[in-house]
């Protein structure tokens, strides 16, 4: 018997919790924690974008960092070397470049599936790393590009850690709801169908390849957004941001949070960032050990992630039973 308080709590509870965590809390934190929170939000955008192809379409990409890096590098190049200034002009160009690269990579990568898809996305992103490392005049080589200015939104804003945070946070909110629209649409449902059974979807007359291709490009677009916001926040972008570590981190965030939910990777990003933050305070020399250990333990103990447990806990709190 549902009571009157249950319906609004179940409906709006998550939004209130998210608003507290992402809108109210950061304003009260000290400056260095605000920038940790910005990192968190950026990684959340990145990981959620991966969730579209990994969680919904079932494609395991080990090269998603390519689009984070292309978006970031395009943005940084336009701002530092080509003399562009306005956020409203630079962002569409950087995103168009990201989409163009994704359209090309998608043609190559989607010729194969499963393990081969994983390997080819990996090779493509590593090829970009090699290009960036070599083409020193343009990309700054191993040092990367630095002194990236703050976003010029056309209105005067005092840029400090909290306004930069809200800039990242608004990007997250916009991206989250746009991606929610994508995955809740008939297109998103057919992606899940492809994940569950590709031959069946094909037999039902769906153009499976085209669905995957479009999902791949959409996912790359949002990864590009994450890269752009990252360059504004970090003011430096280096080949590391294109490499294997970034892709693996995004995969880990998706798996840890729970793939195929969108909000799962959001929680995964919170958990991973907090682990990274505390280990960098208490065990600065051993933080790769802690990070690696959390990869290992998370995968060995929670191969399906936190999301199912959270969902169950939530239902128990609201409805008093584990059943939905």
């Amino acid at each position: 018997m549902a009571q009157t308080w249950q319906r609004p709590v179940a409906r709006f509870g998550p939004y209130v919790a998210a608003a507290l965590l992402f809108l109210i809390l950061p304003a009260l934190l000290p400056t260095h924690l605000q920038s940790v929170w910005s990192r968190l939000v950026i990684f959340a955008i990145f990981a959620i974008s991966l969730d579209i192809i990994f969680g919904y379409a079932g494609l395991i990409s080990l090269g998603h960092s390519a689009f984070f890096g292309v978006g970031g590098y395009a943005n940084a190049l336009l701002l530092t070397k080509l003399g562009f200034e306005s956020f409203w002009i630079v962002t569409p160009i950087a995103l168009a470049i990201t989409v163009a690269v994704a359209a090309l990579f998608g043609l190559i990568a989607l010729r194969v599936t499963r393990m081969y898809f994983l390997l080819i996305t990996f090779a493509l992103s590593q090829m970009l790393v090699a290009v960036v490392n070599t083409w020193r005049d343009v990309t700054g080589g191993a040092e990367g590009l630095f002194r990236i200015p703050h976003p010029d939104l056309g209105i005067s804003i005092a840029w400090n850690s909290i306004s930069l945070y809200y800039f990242a946070c608004i990007s997250l909110i916009v991206c989250f709801f746009l991606m929610m629209l994508v995955v809740k649409s008939p297109f998103g449902l057919s992606l899940q169908g492809i994940r569950e059974s590709e031959p069946r979807m094909r037999a039902m007359g769906y153009n499976v390849w085209l669905h995957k291709y479009i999902a791949y490009i959409i996912s790359a677009l949002f990864a590009g957004v994450a890269g752009i916001v990252f360059t504004y926040h970090n003011t430096v972008i280096s080949p590391w941001n294109l490499g294997l570590e970034m892709s693996a981190l995004a995969l880990l965030i998706c798996i840890l949070g729970g793939r195929g939910t969108l909000w799962g990777p959001l929680i995964g990003a919170v958990v991973i960032t907090l682990i990274e933050y505390f280990s960098s305070i208490y065990l600065p020399a051993r933080w790769p050990l802690v990070l690696g250990g959390s990869f290992v333990l998370c995968v060995a103990l929670l191969p399906k992630g936190i999301a199912p447990y959270l969902q169950r806990l939530w239902n128990r709190l609201i409805y008093g039973s584990a059943k939905n």
Binding site: F54, I60, L62, I108, R111, V112, R114, M115, Y116, L118, L119, I120, F122, A123, L124, Q126, M127, A130, V131, N133, T134, L244, A248, L251, L252, I255, R286, P288, L289, L291, G292, G293, S294, F295, V296, C298, V299, A300, P303
Partner: protein
Amino acid sequence: MLTALSGVSFGSILFLVASGFSLIFGVMGVLNLTHGVLYMVGAYIGWTLAIQHGHNFLLAIVAGGVGAAIIGLILDQGFLRRIHGMLAQQVLLTFGFIYVLTNLCLWYWGALPRAPFTAPTLDWSFPLAGLQYPFARVVITLIGIALAVFLWWLQSKTKFGMVIRAGMNDKEMTVGLGINYGIVAAAIFLLGCFLAGAAGVVGSQLFGAHLGLGQEILLFAVAVVVVGGLGSIPGALVGGLVTGLVVSFGTVLLPGLAMFFVYLVMIVVLMIRPTGILGRAITD
């Protein structure tokens, strides 16, 4: 000529590493990203024994292999068993071990890179085409050839190899015939890790040992098995030679872009023939 020869000896090391990587993939379906780090651990163990304690180089090679195999045992029995058949999770688990093992190596051996070293008996060179060619490189090539012959014998002439081939073709049928495929797979995993560690000691004659080595070798191993064919030993040999030659000619002709060409070859092969030059289709 010299470029080709150094490409061949580099290719031999790549074959040593990639054969284990490829065997593990072919038999267990696991993409073991820890493989490069096992190579690195082997190289460090080899340095400790051969240089620090002045032991025999051959002993160092065996010890490097055994050390890597012990880590492999923990990795396989402790962790990989729990996530059987979950591709993304396996990738992440083995990736996490890269961080863990690299950091443990940093802890134990410190950040200082070790210069390439070799056994005193191998440390001489002979004139070739007007230059001095190190004898150690010849030995590396010979070890590569010997291993190729051994693995070919193991896979095609022994009962053990017969079980491996049967399992690669149809795992369920093999298990159904009453063969304990789990044990065979575990043994192959250990053999693969042993080969990685031993390759680390052999390869340290060219590259020494440093903390970035694990990642570098992993990238090469992936390229080699993709070019040659996942799960195929002759494929690893061909892939190793192709990659070794691409790298050494790339370094001479267009320095800096060598890695770019390695990936380019890898992508072209994946596009045209996803199963690699000598590979067969892998059924999940």
